[in-house]
Symmetry: D2
């Protein structure tokens, strides 16, 4: 079982991006029976997709899990869907700020995560770490990479399963954002590890109610 794991470099003035810290720690620790490759993507529209797609082409992973920072969220959140739009309130790391442009011109409105997100959420919670399903990955680079990868996999008819996981600020980041929740790197790494193992072991997702009224 080959796993491509991606994190991002810091953006929006942060000195660290917990997603890269977590995935490189996971690569170092390793998971039995899983060959992990961790890469750090630039927080740049389009370019992140190119690098990830190239890694998929080269390594032919069975599973792709992209991880990104969601400053302000309190739990590990499994994204359900990516949408075909870039709408940035801030500049990306290359100075781009696309507004209402498609990720892939002519592409569909959205792609579902092909990870067993309900099973992953349940597994993370069972280890005592807060997790949930999210119905929006935003319209910045996180959604961009999720859409781009799922589109590539769909176009090429690869069997690869893929999806996106948002994680909270680290405590050392939250120090500068009073009132914002945080999660220690250790807890994030344990949560992601559990989620990965659930994804590896679960072919068909569970149908647990995890919806939102709005």
């Amino acid at each position: 079982m080959k796993l491509l794991l991606t994190g991002f470099d810091p953006f929006a003035g942060e000195k660290v991006n917990p997603s890269w810290e977590a995935v490189r720690e996971l690569e170092k620790e390793g998971i039995d029976g899983v060959e992990i490759q961790a890469i750090c993507l630039p927080t740049v529209f389009g370019q992140a997709i190119e690098i990830a797609v190239q890694a998929i082409e080269e390594k032919k992973p069975d599973l792709v899990i992209c991880v990104g920072q969601a400053g302000g969220r309190s739990e590990i959140s499994l994204e359900r869907v990516a949408i075909n739009i870039n709408d940035a309130q801030i500049k990306d790391n290359k100075g781009q700020q696309p507004v209402d442009e498609p990720v892939i011109p002519g592409g569909p409105v959205g792609y579902w995560s092909t990870l067993p997100i309900k099973a992953m959420v349940r597994a993370i919670r069972e280890t005592g770490i807060p997790a949930g399903v999210s119905n929006t990955a935003g319209t910045f680079v996180c959604n961009n990479i999720m859409f781009g990868i799922l589109h590539h996999i769909a176009q090429k008819k690869l069997g690869t399963r893929a999806g996106f996981i948002h994680i909270p600020f680290l405590p050392e980041q939250a120090v500068n954002h009073p009132g914002r929740p945080s999660m220690t790197l250790d807890a994030v790494v344990r949560g992601l590890k559990t989620a990965i193992m659930a994804a590896v072991n679960c072919e068909e997702d569970e149908k647990n109610p995890e919806g939102k009224t709005h």
Copy 2:
């Protein structure tokens, strides 16, 4: 210019649904140059779509705006996209609680609102009422009706523009939800009126950055 305006009946133990209160008030007040028909939909998966579709068939409106309650949100929020999933944490008003079932089997992942949501948000704000773009309408009956109507319009190749607007609790509801924001019926009605006029007058949407990082 014919406008079909829908609200919902109360759900989740509430005694009132601000969406129906607002749209029937709007129908009563009227808007110059706009023929408004307001209907109250049941908060019921599928059935709400049937009733709305029937009204579209009969009245052939130019514009369909569905309104629903988003208890906990603080602003009038214009939904950008509907997704093809029903995932209910609570029962609807007929006792149904679908989990991870498509709104329309075989349908696409999502539909974009065909309302000029950015222009509408700007117009509402200019009247001094908080408004924003939302990237998720949830996975309950609000998303269900938005997806169902947009699918019908797409299938029948109608020119009708359509979308969904979420509104906060009324103050009298928030009394029973300590700490939750609210908006008076009067402010909601003024905000919706402004939004409708913007939709009537704006063919092509504005490209204002209103995205979210997550």
Copy 3:
């Protein structure tokens, strides 16, 4: 029954302070059997107290209700206690930024509101407007004026009852603070009117549980 009602001028970059808008509207509308005098205090440590104390000396009101803006709160909140500390994160309107200085050197740690806050909260809620008891008025000018007035009344052994009410942003302010709750001026005025009538009619407060665990 003579009532001194105070609001504040705008601070922290706002163009309006809802507290002054509300109290001057209340003075204009009037309340049967209550002689209202509304004054606008500067958002300035110490100076606000001086002006209010002078008005108390001159007018000899039976009741003093000071009102202030609490941007971010969603309800009308009745302050339970004022504490003898100034600790400012931002400058006041005269450029002062005291840190950990007493309001009144040698004064007690705190003063209780002498308004029937529980009865007032219940009355406001009964009119369908969100209200609550707050256990902190902060450490800026709002707490400063509340402490200063209660200290003056205690020192002079006046029979005057006095206290402080915090109110949310107006909708037109919340437009510039995305995600923050707001309350229309009309709702605030109705809520304050109800609260004042409750204070006028209620000598001894009700014992309704309105505490917080933290």
Copy 4:
């Protein structure tokens, strides 16, 4: 240097109270130059005070730090003040629910923490853990114990410095409170250790602006 460290037993349906978990871990780990005694207080009005006072009488600590759970807060929060009121929205662990009764009849309105809270907050943050000053410890058993201990120390004219620290839910608790922030036990223990060392080493507090506008 002798330190009395108190935590509470679980309340409000929780299976664990992070405050007791943290203080007993701290006692086990130890701090160089500090003789720590950790005790678990019942979440019971009055009774908690009696037990803590008895421990103070017996052990004659130089420092008393009481710790309690603040479910919903995201940071370690140093309480500035305790107020002379019990106002419970829920029953304590003995079934008591006092409303608007004084902690100490005839006592003052409030007592300041005699810990160097600003120095402690700064020190915790410097280790990368979110911390802040809080101006209300609520009106439940946490405020009750803080007031009770400070009153005892004041009455007996002991030189003991004392105060209260609120901590977030543990991650395993937040699993059952979706959307609520949490902090791992390890981070809480490191934060408290840092805070204790700051309290031991700092006689006079720093004057850093940590106030709130409301």
